[in-house]
Amino acid sequence: MTTSHVFKPNMPPPNMAVGPVAWMRTNLFSSWFNTLLTLLALYLIYLIVPPLLSWAFLDANWVGTTREDCTKAGACWVFIEQRFGQFMYGYYPPQLRWRVDLTVWLAVLGAAPLFIPRIPRKVVYGLSFLVVYPIVAFILLRGGFFGLENVATSQWGGLMLTLVIATVGIAGALPLGILLALGRRSKMPAVKVVCVTFIEFWRGVPLITVLFMSSVMLPLFLPEGMSFDKLLRALIGVIMFQSAYVAEVVRGGLQAIPKGQYEAASAMGLGYWRSMGLVILPQALKLVIPGIVNTLIALFKDTSLVIIIGLFDLLNSVKQAAADPKWLGMATEGYVFAAVVFWIFCFSMSRYSVHLERKLDTGHKR
């Protein structure tokens, strides 16, 4: 006699254990205190989000050409649309703005292969890109060669100027910072003292005073008759300032390399420069890439300070446009726009830095 047992199908789990209700019970209402916090958070969201949404989108004015076209209660984005060119390019002549666009596209296209894994000769390509691109960019932006019309740096402005200062700043600060970091870890007391003094000096003062210094004191330091334009002076200040921060980041990487690597390099008979260049720095720099991206973010935010010495970067363009009598009362829209632009850049860089940190987190953990 055989009996076959037929199992009943499994019951679905009770509503209280899985699904949205259970999720809410564990994450939002697990105790009376948590319930209180949730209600508080909901109240905060209620206070902030609906007015913000209606100001920025629902009640906003999107079409028009003048201030009078902004009839609804919300934001007047017409202002941003009308002044968009100024915010992006400053006083760069409108008919020549294609050169700026081209420079940006060249950067994007040229750098793209570097982000694709498994591309042959990546290092050679990267280095030649780093050498060739700045020259091309300089010629394109400033002109004066190959029949390109010269555009004085005083006409540069907007987001373009912000990007120029940030990229030149970090590109100039990297080599200087690496040298300073090596110098700081040197066994030669004179070199070490010079580097430590340099680094600590720039790290101790605010960037504003550095910019003041480069705009009022640099002309005094130079021989008679020699003068730099304003942008170059600001760039020198920014590079000096930033190199100190880069140096500290790189020093962290150098310290993280185990002593065995230094000893191994010496045992191979490599001299100082070759052991640094072939053994230590490739490992140390790989470790500090996230840190360098973080200093780049700080630098990007700091570029807004050139407003103090009268350069028209994105923030200053917005400030100036908001002071225009034709567009009085548009300060909020202008600053919100600038904030969104800065935020997009900084946030994506910080995400990238987090991503790199995860990707590079190999090999050194035992």
Binding site: N34, V205, F212, P223, E224, D302, L305, L315, A339
Partner: protein
């Protein structure tokens, strides 16, 4: 000892010691040469422009008004006094900013670790929003888009008839010195001495007998009761002066000018985002095993937090926290963007423009910031040494 290894006798460029000397001599020559070159250029330039260097200008009368000064100031006062006013204003912003940013930052940092999903996400949004917007932009936003667009004193936002927010700033009651001031201060001092004695006694009793004593509550009690007695006997230490609307502006009370409000708000909000991240990583750095170990020793949640988790978290939190304070002090120089009269905008801005003594003014300004940052980092090194883990 005739065949010493290495170190060949005589002069050779391949000898590392000789090279080290050579390198250092070259470095010193370059640095000194560069310094002399710059100095020489500066001297000639100054001569050509007819600027006399030196610090005599500090004695001269400034001749301009300042919107906010913590000490008495008239237009005939010297530049040296202007410098002191700027320095005090910088310190004021830093002081208020540090306190507010620490409070806000700790709250948000703890909120980011909350098991409550909503609170957690709100805190994350806060941090990611505000730390990715340049502080100068935030300052300009608060100043131009918020405070300057507020209604005038007549239409000001009113809070309990004590605080008024308008485009002239924040008006609030002023605490003026009354008869009970000195007894009150002495009473506070006495309370602190009493707390010290109490703590010492409680610690000794705990060492001897193991019986704990509620030091915190007893201390709080002493701090409340003794000054309260002084108030009862000698009268209140202060009397309040309320701001009153007369004509087009407020009379009486204290006022925080809109520049100061915008600056402290922006710096607080910006720095708090960074402090929140520091607090979060500090608390997360204490491994869960520590909590479990404390619980298995029989400590209850409260003492576990106070005696095990927080001391270890603080060791991770405090060094980056001080560097954030330092950043806040340095960022207060961004006030130059809205004309709040602190060190940089007042001294390196107005005074420099009036006197033309670029080198002296910039040198003084920079040395103030250097002095602040060096003293804080010395303090930090001392603290780090004190709390460093003593490893076996």
């Amino acid at each position: 000892m005739q065949n010493q290894i290495g170190a060949p006798k005589g002069f050779s460029l391949t000898d590392p010691r000789v090279r080290a000397w050579l390198f250092q001599i070259i470095t010193i020559v370059v640095v000194v040469g560069l310094g002399w070159y710059l100095f020489h250029n500066t001297q000639t330039n100054l001569q050509h422009r007819g600027i006399t260097s030196g610090f005599d200008f500090l004695e001269r009368s400034a001749g301009f008004g300042i919107a906010q000064h913590l000490i008495d100031y008239t237009e005939s006062d010297s530049y040296a006094r202007v410098f002191v006013i700027g320095l005090l204003n910088t310190l004021l912003v830093t002081f208020i900013g540090v306190i507010l940013a620490t409070l806000l930052g700790f709250v948000i940092g703890v909120a980011r670790l909350s098991p409550n999903w909503m609170i957690n996400k709100l805190a994350t949004v806060y941090v990611e929003t505000f730390r990715n917007i340049p502080p100068l932009l935030q300052i300009l936003f608060w100043y131009f888009a918020v405070f300057l667009t507020m209604p005038g004193p007549r239409g000001s936002h009113n809070l309990w008839n004590m605080f008024y927010v308008s485009n002239r700033g924040l008006n609030m009651p002023a605490a003026l010195k009354a008869d009970g001031m000195w007894p009150f201060l002495i009473a506070v001092l006495v309370a602190f001495v009493a707390i010290g004695v109490m703590v010492k006694w409680a610690n000794k009793r705990f060492e001897d007998t193991g019986v704990p004593f509620h030091k915190f509550w007893a201390g709080l009690g002493l701090l409340v009761v003794i000054p309260a007695l002084s108030v009862l006997v000698f009268g209140s230490p202060v009397h309040w002066e309320m701001p009153e609307l007369r004509g087009f502006n407020f009379v009486g009370g204290w006022v925080m000018i809109p520049e100061l409000l915008a600056l402290t708000l922006a710096l607080t909000v910006y720095t708090a985002a960074f402090i929140a991240e520091i607090v979060r990583s500090g608390i997360k750095s204490v491994s869960h095993g520590q909590t479990e170990a404390a619980r298995s020793l029989g400590l209850r949640p409260g003492p576990t937090l106070r005696k095990v988790i927080i001391p270890q978290a603080l060791r991770v939190i405090i060094p980056p926290l001080t560097s954030q304070y330092l950043n806040l002090a340095k960022n207060s120089s961004l006030a130059a963007g809205i004309g709040y009269p602190e060190m940089v905008s007042l001294f390196a801005g107005t005074v420099l423009n009036q006197t033309g003594q670029a080198i002296e003014v910039i040198a003084i300004t920079m040395s103030v910031y250097l002095a602040i940052s060096i003293s804080i980092s010395l303090l930090m090194n001392w603290y780090n040494k004190r709390i460093a883990l003593i490893e076996r």
